[in-house]
Amino acid sequence: MKDMLFSKTHEWIQFLDETTVRLGLTDFAQSELGDLVFINLPEEGDEILISESFADVESVKAVSNVYSPVTGTVSRINEELLDHPELVNESPYEAWFVEIENVREQHELLSEEEYQQFIHEEE
């Protein structure tokens, strides 16, 4: 969880350099969603807009959007998730979804402490 920041829509974000990030789902999000059975990821090269859904996650009886806290271009996707969606449940902070480069815009992000505070207030 080192160097991770968090969004209010329950994504974590990790800066690999100044304009490149990794995105994933927080532990809180995965536990709310329950056992995930499939992850729909974007394609490499797709443009991603801030606040818009760039992926979705399926449980047995539900599907939920994953929103992007940044604007940028998908440079890599974590193909392992396509075959092993359970990784998101097992180790959410290692199971990254995408890497985004040319990050041009970003939401105000929360620190770990602020995020914990936020979900505490939500509950």
């Binding site: 059975v37 499939f38 449980s59 047995v60 009886k61 539900a62 599907v63």
Partner: protein, 440 residues
Amino acid sequence: MGTYVPNTREEQQEMLNSIGYSSMEELFTLPKEVLLNRKFHIPEGVSEYEVRNKMTKISEKNQVFKSIFRGCGAYNHYIPSIVKQVTSKEEFVTAYTPYQAEISQGVLQSIFEYQTMICELTGMDVSNASVYDGATAAAEAVLMCAEKKRKKIIISETMNPEIIETIKTYCSGLDIQIVIAPSKDGKTDSEVLTTLVDQETGGVFLQQPNYFGQIEDAEEVGRIAKAKDAKYVISCNPISLGILKTPAEYGADVSVGEGQPLGLPLSFGGPYLGFMAATEKMMRKLPGRIAGETKDKEGRRAYVLTLQAREQHIRREKASSNICSNQALCAMTAAVYLSTMGKKGIEKAALLSMSKAHYLANRLCELDGFQLVYSGEYFNEFVTTCKGNPEHLMKRLEEHGILGGYPLQGKHAGNLLWCATEINTKEEIDQLIHIIKEGV
């Protein structure tokens, strides 16, 4: 008045009173302005006996033919007795979609077995639990193939025109471009097709055997599609797969078709059965229900509806298809039919159909004014010319209880599309020839 309400008027009144109402009217708190306040202009209800007579009389206004030489998407194959018996079992007939797996293992397992049989027939990896019919199966396959950067779908002109029309309607509100590839000598013109397929092509659609009965060079069409990474979709006649090369062997990504020949009666066009099968890669794009195997908590084998997050009841406006009800009982019919026929039976049905069609064609071509219009190999349908007005000839055959070839429309007008199946005997065919020849 016939009714299926068990409670007597007295019991109804008793129920009303027990929950604090004095009359039925009080239960209905609809705004006054929308009340009908008059009787329906529909005849008063009658007894079962009277309804039976009335409906039977209506059915007798239709002509049931003793000999049928017409196909065009609806085929008169023999239906084994057990198929009709099994699929009339009340539990199968009246059950709902198997959402409650614990009490629906029968339906779920039958779907799983059906899916396996469709995979075996087509050679594909995965099958869904059915869609409405062959035409809508092809239309759903278009939705599977169209992608963000590949919105052009190429359909061979030799597909059944009803399928092409259905596809066009399905795409009318969507950003998908339908291009019709022309034909030459009754088959897809692969030279022209090559020029049509490009980097924006999502899919190439072929019917095998095609609408005119011709066996297409499906390998070549597949090569043309693959050269540009377009998906390849083959619509096929399931009986023909008893002997003909499978869609998988032609390299298809998706295989669809009309399952009616698998034990379903002609029924004036429905209910029929749309089957859809695909490569494993395309699995999650399949529309509709899919049954899968799993275990219950005690480790017993169990079947469930699976991959449901693709579907409308979960994905709503983001679902790739809106299908909910399908043709489950028709799929079970196909499964019972395929189990009864077995591998040998399907092979035999295919070979007999093809052989009878060839005998019929040879005999027809002995007649003055009748010749094959196309030169290629055919399965159980073929097109001939006709001496004189085809409609007049058909009228004459009708009087003998024979449904002859289908008078083609449009640019093929004047020609007849014939069909034979294992049901047509040599005697029947000889009699048909005799009637045409003698002009009786």
